[in-house]
Symmetry: C2
Subunit: 322 residues, 2 copies
Amino acid sequence: MASTDRPVIALGPDANDPIEESVRRAGADVVLTHDGTVPENARGLVWLGGADDFPTSLPDGLEWVQLPSAGVESWFTSGVITPGTRLTWTSAAGAYSDTVAEHALMLLLAGVRGLPAYLARTSWDDDAKSGTTDSGETTRTLHGATVGIVGAGGIGRTVIRMLAPLGAHTIAVNRSGREVEGAGRTIPTSEIDSLWDDVDHIVVAAPATDRTRHIVGAAELARLRPHSWVVNIARGSLVDTDALVEALRAETIGGAALDVTDPEPLPDGHPLWTLPNAIVTPHVANPWPVQEAALARHVEANVARFVAGEPLHAQIDPAAGY
Amino acid sequence: MASTDRPVIALGPDANDPIEESVRRAGADVVLTHDGTVPENARGLVWLGGADDFPTSLPDGLEWVQLPSAGVESWFTSGVITPGTRLTWTSAAGAYSDTVAEHALMLLLAGVRGLPAYLARTSWDDDAKSGTTDSGETTRTLHGATVGIVGAGGIGRTVIRMLAPLGAHTIAVNRSGREVEGAGRTIPTSEIDSLWDDVDHIVVAAPATDRTRHIVGAAELARLRPHSWVVNIARGSLVDTDALVEALRAETIGGAALDVTDPEPLPDGHPLWTLPNAIVTPHVANPWPVQEAALARHVEANVARFVAGEPLHAQIDPAAGY
């Protein structure tokens, strides 16, 4: 194919080898943005930056913009995407489900298996085999346990698939209540009140909205069990931090494992840093090297669709705002 | 059914509610051993103790002994099981595969995702999202990684099933080289030398024998990668501890996560306690509460088979010694 047959896709704000290779492999040519300007011949733009440094003007021939994030709130609040845009905008929704779900599984397993206390040890304890040591370590299993998946989008559904071979039962919560594949049971968000008494553990994987704010609060935590772990890999605001700290201090739940916090960053000196039944990872479920590889796959698939004139993955609805 | 139709199964050395319930549910009556003596009317014996306190004489009518452990070396070395025994002996082989495999998955994920360093933090770090922080934390993924499963018995096969939905590739190693379900590739132990260059991580799950001692030694560790994690949930002797400590100190591998050590217990002051790229859990992959539940299920299945006159699960071969 002659080079002139290949559409030109702009990439910015900086060069990126894996993404450039993806674009070329998918059948397009790459040009770089320069000083925030998108070259005139570009028909598509793959933007790896944020909303704040997005180009202020775009060439008339531009048809499509690929954004690097799965959530797109900031692109609307900043005014980059407007309801009347003539462009097709795509996000990275779905591209990072696997890596975030894997982190959720890691956090849940580390909590349930009692890893933090073991890591703090510098001495063997033959009593540990009994399952609970003098120093309070407890090793439990997910086999036969019931895990509530609060938010069964791409990440939640992947967690459900990952839990299946561990012999865990799952209850999915989603907006529609439409049955989620692999879940033992699915309940609509409107009936989430029936969830808390029936689960051993909770994985929070719902989007942050006004309706999901503090979806795990004092009342919900009070209905969990003394061995229950709460995992949050979604957004900090979904869990009431103060109520959580209180439950952890009173040991009314087993523990909490959080990749996201409210506030975030978690301030120095916050009790979550030092409570023995809390695990905090600093928003690393989707670290850049992993994200970059996943985004490169996503970009390759979308450029291939663009070249072929097929509908793009993860299209944003500018009128709806998501 | 009249009680006299139900065979009598002895239980010792101590009473145990879940096991007693299992025996009754399976259609037998329970008697307890007393001062190490098995009642004369017992046709079966479920023994929850060790080889050292096993009854020195058994009633003539006894047909079957169920042991509580998966490995049975000590029952032969102690002379409890002799090649010429007239009894049927069964172990708990297979009963604990799920819980040990789950622990292996937890250790591998915690290592690859860099959990130990995050747990040591008391301060956020926005750089963490880049995948590697100033303080050296690294978050990686098992998605697309290749994991070598050294020993594809019940535990290894379960680990392979658990890794599948994470998008990890697996290479199984077993004695026969006969294809292991779900593994991308299976190689016989005799060709294990071809394994080390092809894997990102290793899970050691082989039985301890003269042939598997130090199956992971200095030469093998040297062929792994700077990001490779070595997980051992089998027996400490399968890994050369001194060579491992050297590799961890030199950071020629990513880390080691061990539920079993050599020596065991791991002595106070041993470098594995404090090396930042080592995770040690004190032989808790199969803690008693979990083990008890799994053993109760195993006993129930075997008593039901005994009542029905069917072949028992996990029969030991007294002549072969395993």
